[in-house]
């Protein structure tokens, strides 16, 4: 079926998103680049980069989140010891195998030491590509971390302007901010809808639709989101006797799609998660008036998601974002699913679990790799968790 012909149904939208997900050669991005001479593509890794600046330079912001369970890693393993997570090796594989040969720049956000060091590896291995470690402040005062961040953003703006051959103007930035505001609003709407009616918007579908936003231009992705929302609201789908959970810890290396599906099949509706956080990192609209870099910085400091890669200055606030996510989405429990060897997720986990314990929220935890094949143990664990929640809430 040509999915693009039928995007009024969830199946049609999801088929398009699945097609993009399955394509390890990034054909859509390649085609976008080829459509107009001079177009450039800038890749970025988790967890957050200001895609507005890339877009304002007329470039495509391409999210790279590893190779998933379909990519055969041939070269990547020669770069990493067995005790390092999988996403850097599959990302290297994407690079070495030529799948990213159309990418003109790469941004490596400050999420952990693995991606930090990968930024240097990229410089060594792909000297023709603009590579930048993208640091963000861990101090959230406007006059301290804010000033630093504005200057970092200005540097990025300058570099991308050079890459394009013309500086990025304030108006270009404002226009991009408006487009991403809209995109984030749609993502939030989708999350709110799913929290209310998870049977109408299964987690795997929401994930695929979100994931499409990593490879499509923002305008197209917003259209896709609208189409999915309209279709999901219109279709009546059977409601299962599932419990509702928040999935956390999966903000970098991605769980296999099958894992997400398995959770729902084993009785857990995912009503919130930290997958692909870049799509909703900024939690409120970025003002379009005024200095665009100041606005992006201020949004980062005061209106952005909490996650393990960020320092929480207030001890009392530690982990509360998770409690709030549970309350907001009406979840009954939390599933910690972290990539093996993932420092941020695994070091943060005990603190989050203490907070949940204090709040009386049940949880389970397991680890995965992007290429985990065996879902049976996870299904069993999630199934037992769902049963115990039902039993508990019935008691």
């Amino acid at each position: 079926m040509d999915a693009s012909l039928n995007r009024t149904s969830t199946a049609g939208v999801v088929a398009r998103a699945q097609e993009l997900f399955d394509d390890l050669s990034f054909t859509a991005a390649r085609e976008w680049k080829a459509a107009k001479p001079g177009r450039k593509v800038v890749g970025y890794l988790p967890i957050y980069v200001p895609r507005e600046i890339i877009h304002a330079a007329d470039m495509l912001a391409l999210g790279i989140v590893g190779g998933g369970d379909q990519l055969e890693v041939i070269h990547g393993d020669a770069y990493y010891q067995s005790y390092i997570c999988r996403i850097p090796r599959s990302t290297i594989e994407l690079g070495v195998s030529g799948r990213l040969d159309f990418v003109d720049g790469m941004l490596f956000p400050s999420i952990c030491d693995v991606i930090r060091n990968l930024s240097g590896m990229w410089k060594m291995m792909f000297p023709g590509v603009y590579s930048r470690y993208f640091d963000v402040p861990q101090n959230y005062r406007d006059d301290v971390g804010g000033n630093y961040y504005v200057n970092e953003l200005a540097e990025l703006r300058h570099d991308l302007g050079e890459l394009r051959g013309a500086p990025i103007t304030d108006d270009e930035l404002r226009a991009s901010i408006a487009l991403y505001n809209e995109n984030r609003r749609l993502v939030r709407e989708l999350y709110a809808f799913r929290a209310q009616k998870p049977w109408q918007a299964p987690a795997a579908e929401v994930y695929l639709v979100l994931r499409a936003g990593l490879v499509l231009p923002v305008e197209e992705h917003s259209t896709l989101l609208r189409e999915y929302l309209a279709a999901a609201q219109a279709e009546e789908r059977p409601m299962r006797d599932n419990c509702k959970i928040v999935l956390t810890g999966s903000f970098c290396e991605q769980p296999p799609l099958n894992l997400i599906k398995s959770l729902e099949l084993s009785g857990c509706y995912v009503v919130d998660d930290d997958l692909l956080l870049v799509t909703r990192w900024l939690t409120a609209d970025v003002p379009v008036e005024g200095d665009p870099l100041q606005n992006l910085a201020s949004s980062f400091l005061h209106h952005s998601e909490s996650t393990a890669a960020k320092y929480e200055p207030d001890e009392k606030e530690k982990g509360q974002h998770l409690v709030r996510a549970v309350n907001r989405s009406g979840a009954e429990g939390v599933i910690f699913a972290a990539p093996s060897f993932c420092d941020p997720a695994l070091l943060d986990r005990p603190m989050l679990q203490h907070v949940l314990k204090d709040a009386g929220i049940p949880f389970i935890a397991f680890k995965y790799a992007e290429n985990s094949g065996q879902m049976q143990p996870i299904r069993e664990q999630a199934g037992t968790f769902a049963d115990s929640i039902k039993l508990w809430s019935g008691a």
Partner: protein
């Protein structure tokens, strides 16, 4: 410069201890006493990290500096860390994460005893000097949860592009002025005096000069020091709670004099078994050592006549050999630049450059990497480092794996095998070099 000491372990044998060793032992003992007596003396305690250790600044507030990494190392050397790591895993810490953190948390659960057998005091403040390693941030969030004390973040930006920019320095100075200093004043009740900081920084420079001289003495043949296994002792005072003190100045003065003597006598390094035999191999080592089997690990080297002439680990608490010294004229900027320059805050290309230069400048036979299972900061990317250094220097490199303080990941047979075949490889390379000449 030698003192005769009866060590309890080798009661029958009289061991000659250098004055620097005696001095260091006394310094450490006094430091642990100062720490454990803090509840009695009323001294306030700050915990912080070795990379980005602002000892001079802490001293301005009369704070006693407790370094959890050093405690983990002590526990590794005393072989108590293994139990602590298990203890932490039992209460929910992942088997995948840094074992320093788990050793620290396990130690807390098991009474938090210092090497002198007394209880460590709870810290009054955690100075989260976030420099060169992601784990630090989580480590102190974990400790904050436990101690509920003031926690101060000092964020050191990473040298991703291989340079220190004015924006980075300004950001750090601003943090020092607006956050770190006011909070330290509040916790300690001591007003900040920038001239006092200057005085300490002047003292730091003296010790730094002598440390660099000692480390660079390894350029001689034979090298009078081992710049990794021995180096770990040499960096102790300056990376720990003594930078900026008279004690550190004196320690490094003794050490330098001893090395001068060894050089004059044409001696190699001192090892736990006495003077090392003939120097047969000169190596550069990247990565931290294993501490649970430290002596056994070292012995594998000196038994073969392999001496480490330069190492990256001895730069984690400050990189001084390229000229950086604390500058009393710019006290806050210099603290920023110090943090920015520590080894693990350097980009991967910088690390490659540094190690390649070490191999050349110290006329080493090659690079050996000890890759630490639970340390992503060091380990991620080391295989590329190995290949690049090999390519640039034309000298062979090798890779061994272990862990810092988790004895489960030290496989003596494996490491010994790899080391032996590496040394054979060096021999072959030499032979083929001779044949070609």
């Amino acid at each position: 410069m030698s003192t005769v000491i009866n060590t309890p372990k080798a009661a029958a044998k009289e061991v000659l201890k250098d004055a620097s060793m005696v001095k260091q032992k006394e310094m450490m003992a006094a430091h642990y006493d100062r720490l454990t007596n803090a509840p009695k003396t009323g001294a306030k305690v700050a915990a912080t990290f070795v990379p980005g250790n602002l000892n001079e600044l802490l001293m301005c507030f009369d704070l006693v500096n407790n370094l959890p990494e050093v405690n983990a190392i002590q526990n590794g050397l005393r072989r108590t860390s293994g139990g602590f790591v298990l203890e932490a895993e039992k209460v929910g810490h992942s088997e995948d994460v840094c074992t320093y953190v788990k050793s620290d948390i396990g130690m807390m659960a098991k009474g938090n005893l210092a090497p002198n057998g007394e209880k460590f005091p709870n810290p009054d403040v955690l100075l989260l000097s976030y420099t060169g390693c992601f784990t630090f941030m989580k480590w102190f969030e974990l400790l904050r949860e436990q101690y509920k004390c003031e926690t101060i973040m000092l964020h050191t930006p990473y040298m991703g592009d291989g340079k220190i920019t004015p924006n980075m320095v300004e950001y750090m100075v601003k943090q020092l002025k607006e956050e770190v200093i006011p909070k330290l004043e509040r916790v300690s009740g001591v007003k900040f005096d920038i001239d006092r900081l200057r005085e300490y920084l002047k003292k730091s420079v003296k010790a730094e000069d002598d440390l660099v001289w000692v480390l660079q003495s390894a350029k001689n043949k034979p090298s009078p020091i081992d710049a990794y296994f021995g180096g770990i002792y040499y960096i102790g005072p300056i990376f720990g709670a003594f930078r900026g003190t008279d004690d550190a100045i004196e320690y490094y003065k003794f050490l330098r004099e001893e090395v001068v003597e060894r050089l004059a006598e044409g001696k190699g390094p001192v090892t736990p078994d006495g003077d090392m035999g003939k120097e047969k191999y000169r190596l550069v080592v990247e990565g931290p050592p294993n501490y649970t089997n430290f002596r056994q690990f070292w012995k594998m080297f000196y038994d073969e006549g392999a001496v480490v002439v330069a190492s990256s680990y001895t730069k984690v608490g400050g990189t001084y050999d390229f000229g950086f010294r604390h500058n009393p004229d710019k006290p806050l900027e210099t603290l920023a630049e110090y943090c920015l320059g520590v080894y693990t805050n350097r980009s991967l290309p910088m690390r490659i450059e540094m190690l390649s230069n070490y191999v050349k400048d110290y006329e080493a036979d090659g690079l050996l990497i000890n890759s630490i299972k639970s340390c992503n900061s060091f380990s991620a990317g080391q295989l590329l480092i190995m290949r690049e250094v090999e390519k640039r220097t034309g000298r062979p490199a090798a890779f061994v794996e272990s862990d810092l303080v988790d004895p489960r990941y030290f496989s003596a047979a494996n490491i010994k095998n790899r080391l032996e075949s590496y040394l054979q490889m060096i021999e072959q390379k030499r032979a083929s070099g001779r044949a070609a000449a």
